[in-house]
């Protein structure tokens, strides 16, 4: 009977470890089903089947469908909406930095997982206000902070002239959503995607610099 005292600890440890793995397993199944059918269209049975667990197990890990949905959204927002952190640290020219940022923003926005989350968040925003906030803070807000931080730096260096860096960042963000993002969200076909992407990036940068760049006479916009 000497082993018994250690048993609970191990068990707890094992269980927690296994629990964590099973939790992930469930969330992976949930992602597939919620992505394909949305919140209302998804059924707990389908999720259980997809995840390879029983329905009872689902309810051991998540109190109900809403909780599971929230966990799925939060996990995926946290994991899939993060980028463009280190770009500005390379000592590139403002234009090249903006181009790099624009490229990352575009890529992020039109990634299948972002689009899936966007669709779900927008559609459920009225019923899950907290999730919309999570999405916003994990994705757009971080991107805007990075962007506005970089803009402030440029203003300090005198390479940009911007009164409201946060608003300017939002405008740049909007410019990056021209054409491709809108169409993808509507599931509409898009020809020459790579080409269009370059065009969106180049023109976002060009317009932004035309409006906020300093001494436009020295600048040469490329394309």
């Amino acid at each position: 009977m000497s082993a018994t005292p250690s048993k609970p600890a191990m068990v707890t440890h094992l269980c927690t470890g296994e629990s964590e793995a099973k939790r992930e397993q469930i969330l992976t199944g949930a992602k597939a089903i919620f992505a394909a059918h949305g919140f209302e269209g998804a059924s707990m049975s389908a999720i259980a089947r997809e995840a390879g667990v029983s329905k009872g197990t689902l309810y051991n890990y998540f109190a109900n469908k809403c909780d599971l949905f929230a966990a799925f959204v939060e996990k995926n927002c946290r994991e899939k909406l993060q980028v463009l952190a280190p770009v500005q640290q390379l000592g590139l020219s403002p234009e090249k930095t903006l181009r790099a940022l624009a490229r990352e923003i575009v890529r992020l926005i039109i990634s299948p997982e972002s689009l899936m989350l966007y669709r779900i968040i927008v559609s459920e925003a009225p019923h899950f206000p907290h999730l919309a906030t999570t999405f916003w803070q994990s994705g757009p807000k971080r991107a805007l902070e990075t962007l506005s931080g970089w803009i402030e730096g440029q203003v300090a260096q005198g390479t940009l002239k911007v009164d409201d860096p946060i608003f300017a960042a939002e405008q740049f963000f909007s410019l990056c959503q021209t054409r491709i993002a809108h169409r993808k969200r509507f599931n509409m076909p898009l020809e020459n995607e790579a080409e269009e992407e370059e065009k969106v990036i180049s023109n976002a940068v060009r317009v932004f610099l035309a409006a906020y760049g300093v001494s436009s006479s020295e600048k040469t916009t490329t394309d």
Copy 2:
């Protein structure tokens, strides 16, 4: 003042007018429920109750839930997404015209009905591709055509310098969605909405003209 003209109207009323009225009645109920719960979340019973008809009547007018949903989306896209037609004809200065257009675009995009439709269309785009197209063609496409048509006119007059008017129109459209539209779609609170709206409009116009305006030395951006 002869009685005859009213006769056909009455006959029409008797024959199909009531049906048409009931159809509208159903679509009104459907709008309330679909808007609140989305496609999957809406129940035919709830729609019938909201519309004040029996469930059977629903199915006398629409073959099934999908058809009713499609009819609801099409009707509302057709009726609620139309604007900004006559603005450019008023002979205003380019800047003032752009401001007027921007204002109409912003107002349209953040109108409750537009937001509701946007939410539903984006969320159901994978399952109802046709409806996304309907939405796009009723709303954004028309706005972009109006906009790019006006731009082409300005280019011809030499007041703007634009290589790709359609793309430029799309950028202007994107700029109009800065801050307010994004936040509304996510159901996030927005303080000083009127003030923000002015800011979005002014800066959209300012950035656009900075990029595409001619002889910037003569221009005076207002706010």
Copy 3:
């Protein structure tokens, strides 16, 4: 006012005439639908559509679905289950007469309309006892009467030796249902139908005559 008295008569006449035609029209539609789907599976809407009348008209002619069903069954039993009347009058030999009767019986039993009615009657017998009686009296009973009447004649002539002509007729009737009828009722495939029919007829006659024929001077019927 002199014209009025004749009006009702004419109207009645016209209406009755048209009514009769419309009644038939409805019953024709009902036949198609009841035949295909049975009583429970048939819908009044489908019958109205098939008959080319409105649902309201259905209820002007028949009080409800049961009545319409009863009318359909009675009409078709009366019209489709009648045969083999004149055969025995032709002065053929007993064997040839029996063969002719057997052929008519087999043909009647396996006619699509008989099978359809049989299916419907058997399946609804517990719920519509009267219809089963109608079917029996329109079809089998008449056939048996014809048969037993002929048998009685033969007994009187000394060409058959039968104690209970009605029962013997029923046996002959049963013998005619060997193989083909049973299989058809179960919708089972049957190869060489014409050949099988000959076999059934020949053997029904042969067995019947072996049991009830006279020429075998040694026969002693007991019972």
Copy 4:
């Protein structure tokens, strides 16, 4: 007498035994409702109520109404249509054997469960062709095989003279359906049922032997 054999049984009982019991419970309820109302007329709610389970449980055991119907038919055909196997092994005289077989056939055909299945199968044969086959193979086909096997034996012994034993068996089967079976299928009243049954049996045997018996001069029909 060892306990171990019972262990697996218990395990089985625990694992799927309860499921099996519930399945039977459902099928029992289904039998009552399908028997009373046929396939179309039966409702899953009524079956659930009759079986004492919830509607959801019905669908845990059977994918849909058709599957439940098929399971009900197959189970009952398998269980209720089996008989007359050992009769011919007793060393009875041909006549007595035939009488015993006829009695079993008649009893089988007019048993309430056979009649119920016959009604349902005949009425649904066009929509469930497989079930008609199941019925045929569980009931009539087996009876005919038994019968024709015995006939072949008699032919080999010289007590019967039959060219086509299978066809002769079918004829005997038909003769056994005289009067009683036909009337029961039509739900028509029948007086003196026991007496009629004897008559049908006696005469079926008599007619069959008159047609297929050898040296009729030695034969003495009894009863």
